[in-house]
Symmetry: C2
Subunit: 210 residues, 2 copies
């Protein structure tokens, strides 16, 4: 518990508290880069400190342990995901429009808003343990259920073929989560074109019409 | 160079040589499990030896270094992939039939024939360096170009819509390479049903017909 949290009654967050949040986000991004380059197991807190432009003691002022840091990065990635994707689409009434908006927003998140390193670390669940793992998995499962429900609604309304909602959910997740493996933001394919291509491909498949 | 390679003139591989190949495959599978559980950086050759039921000296009789071991695992995974997928489909003349056969074989490889650990390590290119990385990437690129050519042929023959072959290639690769993240072989969805569902979903999309 930081003393800044005691002053929560004031409307605007205190300067100190904002600094703490900004600094923590900076540490997460630097640490994600270090973990991505060296692997979580090999990276040391000294290297994370150096990458953040801080002393090791300075890092430990903000973050308790390396495990807590990994969990912090993953939570931060999930926060971004929920803010930029899930929270923006979850209440769209029409399931087809909801799915289109979800694909677009999720593709743009991984191509545009989220550093590649963060995506890599987010896919690294091997190192996460215990309560930390359960907490991240709970948030992931919520998104999986949301997609499954969306596909089921589309089927019920005659908008989708009788696909297996689970298969469709993970096929879509795979298409999108794999983007960081191959997509070059500076390359031939624009991120907004990729988003539209993914919408078309997933909704309509590759086959030519009859 | 092992002395067994000198006796190559005899028709049947020598017993010693077969033993070497079998033992090496066993080491690869055990090492893949250890790397998967602990991460490549943290795992030691002693742990790999223990998981293989061998001494550390015994391991080094077959494999020169930890880097060579990682490359060996990846080559072994690519060998399996080429034997079970690429070599079986590459000469199918009709591009649509070729694509269907490719999706089926690739899905069944990752669900049935390839231990999950191997898939995880195959996706771990971070740790691979220099010539080893180039060699693996060369084989990966050959598959990417094969898929791109297949999509281009489908478009040219009016079988596919005018999709971007590159986007279609990596969307498909993502759908399939992600399977190990969620698919339970003992669960509700049979591997052969998953393969057919992936063929249908990728070819026809999720939308109901007009």
């Amino acid at each position: 518990m930081k003393s800044t949290q005691v002053t929560e009654t004031s409307k605007a967050p205190s300067r100190e508290r904002l600094d703490h949040a900004t600094r923590t986000a900076q540490i997460y991004q630097a640490a994600a880069r270090v973990f991505c380059e060296q692997g979580f197991g090999q990276a040391s807190m000294s290297e994370v400190a150096a990458a953040s432009g801080m002393t090791k003691a300075g890092i430990y002022h903000h973050i308790g342990s390396k495990d807590e840091l990994l969990y912090g990065i993953m939570s931060y990635g999930m926060d971004l995901f929920e803010e930029m994707v899930y929270d923006r689409v979850k209440n769209i009434p029409d399931p087809l429009e909801r799915l289109r908006a979800t694909i677009r927003a999720h593709v743009l998140l991984v191509t545009r808003d989220r550093p590649k390193e963060l995506t890599v670390v987010l896919n690294e669940t091997v190192a996460l343990k215990g309560d930390y793992l359960q907490e991240i998995n709970k948030r992931r499962r919520r998104y999986v259920r949301f997609l499954e429900r969306t596909f089921q609604e589309m089927i019920d309304q005659g908008l989708a073929r009788s696909i297996d909602p689970r298969v469709a959910t993970f096929a879509l997740a795979g298409m999108i989560n794999w983007i960081y493996q191959w997509y070059q933001p500076s390359g031939r394919i624009k991120d907004s074109d990729l988003a539209e291509a993914y919408v078309d491909l997933f909704l309509g498949g590759v086959l030519a019409g009859p």
